[in-house]
Symmetry: D3
Subunit: 67 residues, 6 copies
């Protein structure tokens, strides 16, 4: 299955913090850290654990540029 989202950054899960509905996932992407807020359901559905090899996926319309 290919996805239209243009950004898929390979990395490793550093940290997972679960709230009641939302969870925070930190991913190391080539030395830079990316933070994702996803539903707790997603954490369980993907059986996500620290150390997992994952991709951080972002739709290009959601990326801003700062200069």
């Amino acid at each position: 299955m290919k996805l239209s989202a243009r950004n898929a950054l390979k990395g490793k899960v550093l940290e997972i913090t679960k709230g009641q509905v939302v969870a925070k996932v930190k991913v190391d992407v080539g030395g830079q850290s990316i933070t994702s807020l996803v539903s707790v359901d997603a954490i369980e559905d993907l059986d996500l654990k620290v150390g997992d090899e994952v991709s951080a996926i972002v739709k290009s319309t959601e990326v801003m540029i700062a200069k």
Copy 2:
């Protein structure tokens, strides 16, 4: 000025493609490429050019995880 968005990935502008209203910007981030869709106004306001050192900024709610 500090921003609440948790993700600021340092990189260099590889490519800019302007449409009438929207522009596509490709940024090299540590060997992985990020694509951003922003308004043409933003390209002109930031005087964005290929080779510029920039940050690709993403709010953590917009980042998905794939495993």
Copy 3:
């Protein structure tokens, strides 16, 4: 590959309209129509054509409720 996005609605591509940078894709999802704006690159990368069986994917943070 499993994705954290909670919404994947199965459907069929009805219509594709390409701009210079952005393209509009209409998908029939069980009798209701969904419109997606993605990059033209994505259309070409997925070799997307009218009639294709696809999923419309939406992160749960992007879904609003009206009552």
Copy 4:
């Protein structure tokens, strides 16, 4: 009042889970389930309850395609 968001999928509230700040709402849309993360304030403001007839609203820029 008409909204520019192109996607309004009619359905029925299946489930509501409230956190401290964010709530999860599951909506049955023609046999497929949609998950929305909204603020707890919104749940109270709309007096949202299981069984309510609602629309799940998504801006077209937020819809990805997978093939």
Copy 5:
């Protein structure tokens, strides 16, 4: 119809610029200007014109804070 999005800023359309697929709308909100990128279909569907009284609607998950 009430919407879960928490932000509805009343204002007046200042400017509309149509591309092939996406349009830019500038709205004056109490002296500050807001820019929206929506589909051209939405402009036509809402019969949007300069001078129209409108609301600029934003889901709270999409608002960042800078300090």
Copy 6:
């Protein structure tokens, strides 16, 4: 540092509500209130307090229009 996001509305923090992972921030923008959902990390990183002068930042692709 300039940001591609087109919308930066100046205002003052009215209220901060912290959950475990996500926090709600209400900002008074020229008499109209804006609600933002950001990570708790961001609140701490910006040392955000009621009464602070801030900007509410929104990417133009995330702004809808209602008429």
